[in-house]
């Protein structure tokens, strides 16, 4: 009577069936993500845009910079005066808007991905070094980041582009620099909180070198917030690149970047709504999709949300 044994076989019929083996972390994350309809839709839209970006050369009906001088400012096909060749109409110099939009997708996706990769890799390295080595290295790096964050991001991007000169590549570099502090801060915070954990100390005792500690042991555990920030960073990059394009400091005409298209369309506010509406709509849908996916990832990866 005094032993702590488990109940005998007879009452076992009372208990419900066993739950089964728990799912792997990746599977669990994917399940949570899928349940979030918004995020799922975002993912589908991104897949579609990616498809457009990769196949632009073959899908777009026209060359994006080819001008048709007989078809200036044609409205979309469903309106009066529309031309069935130019489904979404043409711009002021007779270029097919649909083709420009599709090539614009290629540009925007490249911009987003390039900026985030560049920014994230340098950000992770800097943040890792700051968080791991602490001391005056950390202070220096973080102070520099604070200074960079003292300026609103667009303004700093403008300043950098002012130095380097207008153009798509310079704009991308500028935006990457502007996003850098976010990754540095995030990485450093994650590293600092992981540093005190026992697996790091155990590794140290086992003789792991700095590089191994930083990139093999610690980094994988910090990836979740970084992935979320990266996804949201793509949408920021697309918005900022469009803003720079709009101001004439980013992608230069005749490149079909969506923001640049809007800068050329400004004067037609009263006359040709399609030249303004469609490029902006593309930006909105793309950014929205990445934001939805980023939010979904954040919810799926956040342990607190898991019931």
């Amino acid at each position: 009577m005094s032993e702590n044994t488990t109940p005998s076989a007879a009452p076992a019929a009372n208990v419900a069936e066993p739950i089964g083996a728990p799912p792997s972390p990746l599977r669990e994350t994917w399940d949570y993500f899928r349940k979030n309809r918004g995020a799922y839709v975002g993912l589908m839209v991104i897949a579609f845009i990616l498809f457009l970006a990769l196949t632009a050369q073959w899908i777009a009906p026209f060359d994006p910079i080819a001008q048709d001088r007989t078809a200036f400012l044609k409205p979309p096909v469903w309106m009066e005066g529309g031309d069935p060749r130019y489904l979404l109409g043409t711009d002021a110099v007779g270029r097919d808007i649909l083709s420009r939009l599709i090539h614009g997708a290629q540009l925007s996706v490249s911009i987003g991905v390039f900026v985030v990769i560049l920014s994230m890799i340098s950000g992770i390295c800097l943040g890792m070094v700051a968080g791991y080595f602490r001391g005056w290295v950390e202070v220096c790096i973080m102070r520099l980041m604070d200074i960079m964050l003292a300026l609103p991001s667009l303004i700093m991007a403008l300043a950098i582009v002012a130095i380097l000169g207008p153009g798509l590549e310079n704009a991308m570099l500028a935006i990457a620099i502007v996003q850098l502090p976010h990754y540095v801060r995030l990485t450093r915070a994650s590293v600092v909180s992981e540093l005190n954990k026992e697996y790091v100390i155990a590794s140290q005792i086992a003789g792991a070198g700095h590089m191994r500690q930083m990139f093999v042991n610690i980094l994988p555990n910090c990836m979740a917030p970084l992935i979320v920030q990266g996804t949201l960073g793509i949408s920021s990059a697309i918005l900022d690149a469009a803003a720079l394009g709009f101001l004439g400091l980013g992608a230069q005409p005749p490149l079909p970047e969506w923001g640049t298209m809007l800068s050329e369309a400004r004067e037609f506010v009263g006359s040709a709504w399609w030249v303004i509406t469609f490029p902006g709509l593309c930006i909105l849908v793309t950014v929205l999709a990445f934001n939805l996916m980023g939010d979904g990832l954040r919810d799926a990866l956040d342990p607190k949300m898991k019931r």
């Binding site: 009577m1 005094s2 702590n4 044994t5 109940p7 005998s8 007879a10 009452p11 009372n14």
Partner: protein, 337 residues
């Protein structure tokens, strides 16, 4: 007529077809000046039943009862506004963690005066005087300086006294205390319980003391109610329950008290865990863990019956010697423990 009358209270969560019964057909009553102790492990539904009485169960929880009356008035059918007039004034409740029970943005006096303002009115001066009086009543030293303090500046024991002051501000006729001392240091625990009992005696208040601590309830309560996984297992006068428990669960709880393990090698425990939402046994809820359980316990669910003046939910309630009655030799499967 009893002050609080609860008959077949049920609180359900989850989907309509497969609901989770946090409280399952529980009945009890509390009289003026009576201390009822509700005892149970975590997940027993003891807190949830009181929240239902207070009207604090939100959607998607569903509260049903044959009767839920306070002073003869039906709480369930009452319009919300009227119920709010009773809540906090005639029935009050204090909760487990005093450190998080007070709004960090407002001072102590503001929070107590708010309760007074809503239910009793009066000028600011009157309310302030009453607040001072209350703080004295609950034993706060130098109340005048404490009045303008913010919650984060108070200790646990002090906070709980403030919470009690807030609860008794409008002279409630029934006070429900949900594990009021669990989050406090041991030395403070005794003080708080003494305070509650004194207040109860002075104003002839009904007091429901919810706790998992049997020792606590043995000294304080007039009647005790034992709950398990949402069901009522045993109910009766405190003295007799301690002297001769009728339900195997109560017996096991008493045996698990460290004082009663004198002379044994190990502390006696109840093996297994309280069933949660997904693993409710089909028969008696205690059967997987009960040392006297047999076939009939697994297949059918016992109802609450009167056994020698005690309400017990068991097929084989214990006699004065602690042995199950109605159990024939061939039915017993021997000890499970």
């Amino acid at each position: 007529m009893a002050l609080l009358e609860v008959q077949n209270l049920t609180v359900e969560f989850g989907s309509e077809d497969k609901p989770f019964r946090a409280v399952d057909s529980v009945s009890y009553s509390v009289d003026r000046g009576e201390v009822l102790g509700i005892v149970g492990e975590s997940g027993s539904g003891k807190s949830v039943s009181s929240l239902a009485v207070m009207g604090l169960i939100d959607f998607p929880g569903r509260v049903t009862a044959d009767a839920l009356t306070f002073d003869g008035q039906d709480l369930l059918g009452m319009p919300a506004k009227r119920r709010r007039e009773i809540t906090g004034k005639d029935i009050a409740m204090i909760f487990q963690d005093p450190m998080s029970a007070l709004n960090p943005c407002f001072t102590v006096e503001a929070q107590i005066m708010e309760a007074l303002k809503v239910h009793e009115g009066g000028t600011k001066k009157q309310r302030r005087e009453r607040t001072l009086e209350l703080l004295n009543q609950v034993g706060i030293p130098d109340p005048k300086s404490r009045m303008t303090a913010y919650p984060h500046q108070l200790s646990g024991g002090m906070s709980q006294r403030i919470v009690i002051a807030m609860a008794i501000a409008c002279k409630p006729r029934l006070l429900i205390a949900d594990e009021p001392t669990t989050a406090l240091d041991v030395t403070i625990q005794a003080q708080i319980i003494d305070l509650l009992l004194k207040l109860q005696e002075d104003s002839d208040m009904g007091l429901i003391l919810i706790t998992h601590d049997l020792a606590l309830v043995s000294e304080a309560a007039n009647r005790i109610q034992v709950m398990y996984a949402g069901q009522l297992f045993e109910s009766g006068p405190a003295d007799s329950i301690f002297a001769a428990p009728r339900h195997p669960y109560t017996q096991a709880l008493l045996e698990a008290l460290p004082e009663r393990s004198e002379g044994h090698d190990r502390l006696r425990t109840i093996p297994g865990v309280v069933p949660g939402q997904y693993d409710r046994p089909t028969g008696c809820l205690l059967a997987p863990r009960c040392r006297y359980a047999n076939e009939s316990c697994i297949t059918a669910r016992p109802e609450v019956r009167d056994f020698n003046g005690r309400d017990v939910r068991c097929f084989y309630p214990l006699n004065d010697q602690g042995q199950p009655t109605g159990l024939t030799a061939d039915m017993a499967t021997g000890e499970n423990v």
